[in-house]
Symmetry: C2
Subunit: 338 residues, 2 copies
């Protein structure tokens, strides 16, 4: 009998998340019921939002239940189907979780869909042409809504969201400035991803020096900001915003552990008449079709070449996830299972 390895949330973090919050177990492979599909996962997606769900506190999503398989996006191949629209061999993306196999019910909206790997590698459906890509699309198109010639800034620039953001924003004629950690990531952002400039936050570790760097990189000020991080970088960006700037608030990774990070000068939101919107892309399913079409087109045209950091084997997932939270990944963080 084939065994299904799984990673459960064993206990909730006290402050910083640690490996012992997770537990690797083995289960028997489930039996496929009428209308169900058994998928063997090729890749598992690791995303910052998962950290928030490990807490039992009020947040935008239900907490990850204790003792259950960690939830998350997966791509893979159908190995057995009792659903008329799927057959063995189909490449699929779904919410299979941190395990080698999942049993999914395609009649649940968003649970499973077939993908075409002719022009787009399978793993990209977890990144550039998946949730992170649509996240970048929604924040840029629906919230920032830039005009050609405007300057837009994104933090976590070389991550899955940032990589998609720059391709989408360049396609709209913007000046695009990234913020990332380390000279290597910044070089990559400019030379490979197409950023007009990239600021290394390690070289600018406080609001004042970051604001100065932003002034140099954004000589016409900042019209749109895609916030993936929070903390002093947001403070610095606000100091350089133009009147009527728009802020898409997507992540505040720096605040997930421990105490909340304050915003130093919220009065700037008024002074510059800023429009700010927090969002979760899974609540805007109506845009996914349009967004994925544009993102897939950019990949096929070679204008979106996202980088991936791949760890090998399910057991490596907790460590890779904790590294992601500390910014150790370079591009989309995946776990390869096969």
């Amino acid at each position: 009998m084939t065994v299904n390895q799984q990673i459960l949330l064993d206990n909730r973090p006290q402050g910083e998340a640690v490996e012992s919050n997770f537990k690797l177990v083995q289960s028997p492979l489930p039996t496929v019921g009428e209308g169900q599909v058994l998928v063997r996962h090729h890749y598992l997606s690791l995303d910052p939002y998962m950290r928030g769900r490990m807490n039992d506190s009020k947040s935008y999503a239900q907490p990850q239940p204790l003792g259950e398989v960690m939830q998350g996006g997966t791509v893979g191949e159908v190995v057995e189907s009792r659903h008329p629209k799927f057959k063995a061999g189909d490449k699929v993306v779904g919410m299979g979780g941190w395990q080698e196999y999942s049993l999914l019910d395609p009649s649940v909206p968003g649970a499973l869909r077939k993908v075409d790997t002719t022009h787009v590698p399978l793993s990209y459906y977890l990144g550039a042409v998946g949730m992170p890509g649509v996240t970048a699309w929604y924040g840029l198109v629906k919230i920032i809504n830039p005009k050609a010639g405007e300057t837009v800034v994104v933090s976590a620039a070389t991550g899955a969201v940032g990589s998609a953001f720059v391709a989408l924003a360049k396609a709209r004629g913007c000046r695009v400035v990234g913020i990332a950690g380390g000279a290597e990531k910044c070089r990559y952002a400019v030379h490979e991803l197409g950023f007009d400039a990239c600021i290394d936050y390690r070289e600018h570790p406080d609001t004042k020096t970051m604001a100065k760097a932003l002034k140099d990189a954004c000589p016409n000020g900042i019209d749109g900001y895609f916030e993936n991080v929070g903390g002093y970088i947001f403070d610095a960006v606000l100091l350089r915003t133009n009147a009527f700037a728009r802020v898409a608030l997507c992540g505040m990774i720096a605040g997930y552990d421990g105490q909340p990070l304050p915003l130093a000068n919220p009065a700037l939101l008024l002074v510059n008449r800023i429009k700010l919107e927090g969002f979760i892309v899974s609540e805007h399913m109506e845009v996914w079709g349009e967004a994925l079409t544009e993102l897939g087109g950019l990949v096929a045209a070679g204008k979106l070449k996202p980088r991936e950091t791949i760890s090998q084997g399910l057991a490596s997932a907790p460590g890779a996830f904790l590294g992601l939270l500390k910014g150790k990944n370079f591009g989309k963080q995946l776990v390869k299972l096969i």
Copy 2:
């Protein structure tokens, strides 16, 4: 020869504004040129936004020039006109400034317009049926855009903006909760202005107790917030917001003097997917007609009965203004000149 008393900005505040920042002078009455109108002011409007303009720092408006008459809204009567659309005796509202008479050019947009005092007292055109009323209207209608049954909250509840806000929000079927300073203002808010509940911030001087009071007053959470104040009240409101709440950011009076007040937990903007917008009503002239029509109708129908605090004589303006910044006024703060 009649003399025109004027108050100039003599020097800029170092931290808190003080009376010696202002200077009372006397000038000869100006001669009326072709196309001009001389207005004798009956009332002068005092508004929190004037404090921001006393600074020489970057803000949404040009700083008030030093050595010139303090700018501000006025209502009065035309005493001499060399403009075809105005005649002596006309009641008018304009930006006449802190002086007894002003010479205005009606061809400048927004400089001067005639008003009808049949159903609306002249002074109301500086408050409920003027800039503060339109401010409330814009924030409620264009930003918060509430559905009937939703709960909306406004700080500085008994001020000119708050009084208009509650009338407009009740007309839309909302539960309306105010925040004001002192038991007398809170009683007035509920018994005269029509608030469903009013919280005395003096009884709840920190985030935790204010959040508890808001929980009691808003059992279904907060769907919309009109921010006139900033500081810990904003922190407390954010703790009680529902998903997809909207925040109209209009004033941060607590931050005008000295250091900026931080926002303790901006991650809540993401967690609750909040839409926040800073605005200045003078940049949205396109809504004034619609807004003033509704506000005038509410006054005529007895559904908007704003309170006024009136100080007597031009020389009292600086003291009354400093009192306004400390919340000593009760309703719209005016200076009566005649």
